[in-house]
Symmetry: C2
Subunit: 153 residues, 2 copies
């Protein structure tokens, strides 16, 4: 949309797009998160973390991999993990060399996430995926890949 490097205030159009980008995740997560929380007691963030531990790491992941997968900032993840440790859903442990911190799901975490999956699948389809056509979905996926790639450089 914009090519020039400028420090002038964002135009109305630039601002609209920027706000839409920032809102998209929150809008998508709101109904799904509320449904899961009401039916299982897990927040959207809890669910995102537990499901990644199970799906990507078979129960355990380096904290850094978890962070990369979520696309969160380090401090946000750290606060969230502390809250989840208190609730005995997971624990952090040092690797054998003590160099890397791993995150490991605990039995209570496994039981809770298994019960939450069907609730999550219904909510994601009803509140979000149903409202996005295939073409829009392709645009979104491409865009995220492009932005991620530009961040790496």
């Amino acid at each position: 949309v914009t090519k020039a490097r400028s420090n002038k205030p964002l135009t109305t159009e630039e601002r609209e797009l920027w706000h839409a980008l920032k809102k998209l995740s929150d809008v998508s997560l709101a109904s799904v998160g509320n449904t899961i929380e009401a039916e299982t007691g897990l927040s959207g963030a809890d669910f995102g973390i537990l499901s990644r531990l199970v799906e990507l790491g078979d129960g355990v992941l380096p904290q850094q991999s978890l962070q990369a997968s979520l696309g969160w900032q380090k401090s946000r993840l750290s606060h969230q993990l502390t809250r989840m440790e208190t609730r005995k859903l997971l624990r952090r442990c040092e690797s054998e060399t003590g160099r890397r911190v791993h995150v490991e799901i605990l039995p209570k975490g496994t039981a809770t996430i298994e019960a939450a999956y069907p609730v999550h699948a219904i909510a994601v389809r009803e509140y979000v995926l149903k409202h996005i056509d295939a073409k829009e979905g392709a645009v979104l996926i491409q865009l995220v890949r492009r932005l991620e790639k530009s961040l790496e450089n």
Copy 2:
């Protein structure tokens, strides 16, 4: 993408789109947030709140309007406002009837946000808007509107 109400596990395609949606905001915010924080000391969340107070409310907004504009959950906003009150960037105050809580920017907040605007504009253009073409931007804005509307129902 999906029409049927089903509690079966999300397919690979459904999962990819869902993860892209959740990631888009975080990916967009990461570089912009890091730049603003490095150059002004404001986090992305600080900036979002202060700029809304100035732009939407001329310095003061009902907490509920702020929440609606950010699209955040109530507890997330509440924690964030508490941190910003401690730093004397803003304060919460009750309306005359005591029914609604208002959020008011303080002089330190005003000075900080004014200094941050040019930094923000450069970063938003360089790290995000430059990578999105007009057609993609239109798809995103439409999609956010549609999801917001479906949430209202």
